[in-house]
Symmetry: C2
């Protein structure tokens, strides 16, 4: 198709290029909107681009790829985590408070914990949280080596628990309410465990109620309690 003059009376190409220019921040904000509405698997380059009325190729000028977009989303969401005023006297309770707060924020944004589990924290908002925990533990008498590894273990625990919890909502249909979903899922598991052969799995069958008990908060709280007790056993008095 050789060069052709544009037909008379035809606009240059597209009607209104009133498109405000793309920015990395705008892209990440759009991605988080999609995340909240459709889950992490719903955050595709195409879907984010669509949210911005453009094509997927346009995003690559501001973001190196999907991985970087994931990390930027996580760090943006991590900004919502509120940290208390450090109080060395209450360091154990404060460590728990921060863990609960991170879990709350992760669960407010669908699957995002999956991203946190699969990366080393480098963003400013994530490091801000780690810094707080290191500070409060150090002030509380936990030796540096123990505090460092404790931050790691705590983060892993919060992430893994949030991932499992989020899974219940996505594996089931999106129809019912979150509590309904959780209950349906748990009942299925309970029935399966109850039907197990008692001679091979006596404890599982006997403890089926304990294994499937707790709305999720109880379970989390218990694991948190275990971790903090273990950490405290390494602190000097």
């Amino acid at each position: 198709m050789p060069a052709m003059p544009t037909p008379p009376g035809r606009k240059p190409r597209k009607a209104a290029p009133s498109r405000r220019p793309l920015t990395q921040d705008g892209i990440v904000a759009a991605a988080v909107r999609v995340l909240d509405a459709e889950g992490l698997d719903g955050v595709t380059m195409r879907r984010v681009a669509q949210e911005l009325d453009t094509g997927p190729a346009s995003l690559y000028a501001h973001v190196s790829g999907k991985d970087e977009l994931n990390e930027l989303m996580l760090d943006r969401v991590a900004a919502e985590v509120r940290l208390p005023e450090p109080d060395p006297e209450r360091w154990q309770e404060q460590v728990k408070e921060v863990a609960r707060e991170v879990r709350r924020v992760w669960q407010a944004h669908a699957d995002i914990a999956r991203v946190s589990l699969a990366m080393v924290p480098t963003g400013a908002n994530l490091l801000r949280i780690a810094e707080f925990q290191l500070a409060v533990m150090s002030a509380g008498g936990v030796p540096p080596a123990a505090a460092a590894l404790a931050v790691d273990s705590l983060g892993m625990y919060v992430d893994a628990e949030s991932v499992e919890r989020a899974m219940y909502g996505t594996k089931l249909g999106e129809g019912a309410s979150p509590e309904e979903q959780l209950h349906t899922f748990i009942s299925g598991i309970r029935d399966y465990y109850k039907a197990l052969p008692q001679d091979r799995f006596p404890h599982i069958v006997a403890m089926v109620d304990e294994l499937t008990a707790g709305g999720g908060d109880e379970r989390f709280e218990f694991g948190l309690d275990i971790l903090v007790r273990g950490i405290a056993s390494h602190a000097r008095p």
Copy 2:
């Protein structure tokens, strides 16, 4: 090319239909072979089918889809976990032994821990491990509710640690040895943390060595110690 009569003296279609029929077990075994050689992301329907000299569609007669194949792979691999003879006197040490053993097996099979993290255990070999841990903790005096939640927390910790560990190997190039990969990765993180602004992240910068210390085994052992100490604090004496 319309229907043509087969030339005389020619075998029906393919030279030797010595193709032994597909079985679920054979498919899972092939999938695990691919997993070990190329990682979890390398386990695609096409790749597994290729390993069996067939097409991807043929697998769906024996396996409902990718998710089920993942779970079957995990359970097959879980059969390699060896459990000690239960000894209530040493329950804390035995819980740790099993956790170490599971981690060893997970890490012997690339990314497989990712699957474990994303599902509720239902396979016979996975339940066998949970049954053992419940039994030994119960015999050791841990109350049922605590034991049930402890199994959950322990499993999550082992899975999450294995996933993180496996990630170091896959994010970097596949060229160097595992230790080399780990070292390269850790040094990158250390340099980044060292370059952080000291006024905003004083503890991170000060503890950079502790945060990046431990070949991985130390870190895991420490987290395990924390968890078991916490669990033990719930046991009756």
